[in-house]
Symmetry: C2
Subunit: 271 residues, 2 copies
């Protein structure tokens, strides 16, 4: 039997009553003093799917209300709609009675054999062999932190941006993301990993300035196809950095070159 | 005194109790048998802002649960977080006890004088004088319907796509959107109109096939700057049409060329 990845055990939930679940949040997913939002979404998604007859979280919108920390948390999951094609579940994570994150998740069944009617050309992400490991958050991450959980490889021009000057740069990052081999390697359930992957990158504004903490206010992502196991290619970009706010759009492609996820978040520029 | 636009009176809400509002939904915003989602968002946004100390709905994520119809409806609006910079309000619209749409809205104060740190180049939308009025939904809209409420002008290449062949087309629409002069012209509150404008276009897949009803499952939009009064330039596009689903991303720019809104929805292809 293959041992569970740390990701699988860290997102494992226990039903405690009607519409109620418990989880022991893993401090290994901290970035500085707060749990990564992608990790929280991956946890909440388990509860949303447990309350739905449909197998896939196709559209998930989350608002982040206060920082999450390691340790026990409770989840409330309530079906708002049970449809033949789409069901909608509201999920809220609380710690010590305080709301940490709340999401609304539309579930449905994706067809693994679907052939696109139209698909935009994928971003030119170089093969993983040409990409380099680096994380600008390393200095601030706690010792047992997030950067040990997720394996990030950046395309050469992105690597140059993150490690060197930012002058005249556009906020765009490209590369590959996977679960770290240290944690047991690729996820057993590639679709579950996507919830983490859409929020696993350093803030896209790291291409403009040195890395700073950038709290996500809202993040919506859509699962568009069921990914192959293994690393996902990513392109993150921002269209507007202004007034203390920035958008970050992340697209993910699997090894077959299929667009598997589209994400956009609105976040605050850290101080 | 300037008379109210129809949009302003159609989105007027009345407080009926703690966290409760009433609205008389205007059947003039029907598209076929269902009220337009942008109109419902504009109504719900009034309730979200009424429950918040911050003046602007900066990030709004909505799930559409059942079709809305003209007539009385009630709104529940509950503050999930009251922060110094950001407050978060949940809003749900019900008709005859049935949930029609639910949203989570982050509110804050945008600075009208903000100067962007970075802004992507705007889409090349031709001046409104070069654009033509047309709505592929005209055949199916009810007589007093949505196409009388919103003035849409399409760029020449978009107009050609919508009125002619679709062979080899990419799903992208460009043009300008405004309140119809028939309804009293430009909105008194340009930021209120944006909620309607992000979902006022024919489905972007109308560029690929003849217009069909395309129910929105989820729509998130971000208000990035306070618009000047008047028409907004739009670019709508889809990256993936597959498995009965499509994404539609809509960006809006005001007369000064500023990106004022970013929207993305996930919708079903109609039959």
């Amino acid at each position: 039997m293959v041992p569970m990845t740390r990701f699988a055990s860290a997102t494992d939930i226990t039903r405690t009553g009607e519409n109620r679940y418990a989880v022991d949040l893993d401090p290994g997913y901290l970035i500085g003093a707060a749990l990564n939002g992608g990790y929280l979404m991956a946890v909440l998604q388990q509860a949303a799917l447990a309350e739905s007859a449909h197998p896939h979280a196709v559209s998930s919108s989350y608002h982040f209300l206060s920082p999450g920390s390691g340790g026990p948390a409770e989840i409330e999951a309530e079906a708002l709609k049970r449809g033949r094609t789409v069901s909608t579940v509201r999920v809220t994570l609380r710690q010590a009675g305080k709301a940490v994150a709340t999401g609304t998740v539309a579930t449905a069944a994706l067809d693994p054999g679907a052939v696109p009617v139209f698909e935009a050309a994928p971003a030119g992400v170089p093969p993983i062999e040409q990409c380099r490991a680096f994380d600008p958050r390393a200095d601030r991450a706690s010792e047992s932190g997030f950067i040990d959980r997720v394996d990030l490889r950046f395309a050469p021009e992105t690597y140059a941006l993150l490690t060197g000057g930012h002058s005249g740069a556009t906020p765009e990052l490209r590369g590959h993301v996977d679960l770290s081999a240290r944690d047991g390697g690729p996820a057993e359930d590639p679709a579950a990993f996507v919830a983490l992957a859409v929020d696993a990158l350093p803030p896209v504004v790291s291409a403009l300035t040195a890395w700073r903490w950038a709290p996500t206010v809202e993040l919506t992502w859509h699962l568009r196809a069921l990914p192959e196991p293994g690393p996902l290619a990513f392109r993150a970009r921002a269209d507007l950095v202004s007034d203390g706010w920035f958008d970050e759009s992340v697209d993910l492609w699997d090894a077959k070159g299929r667009l598997v996820a589209q994400s956009r978040q609105l976040a605050r520029l850290g101080r």
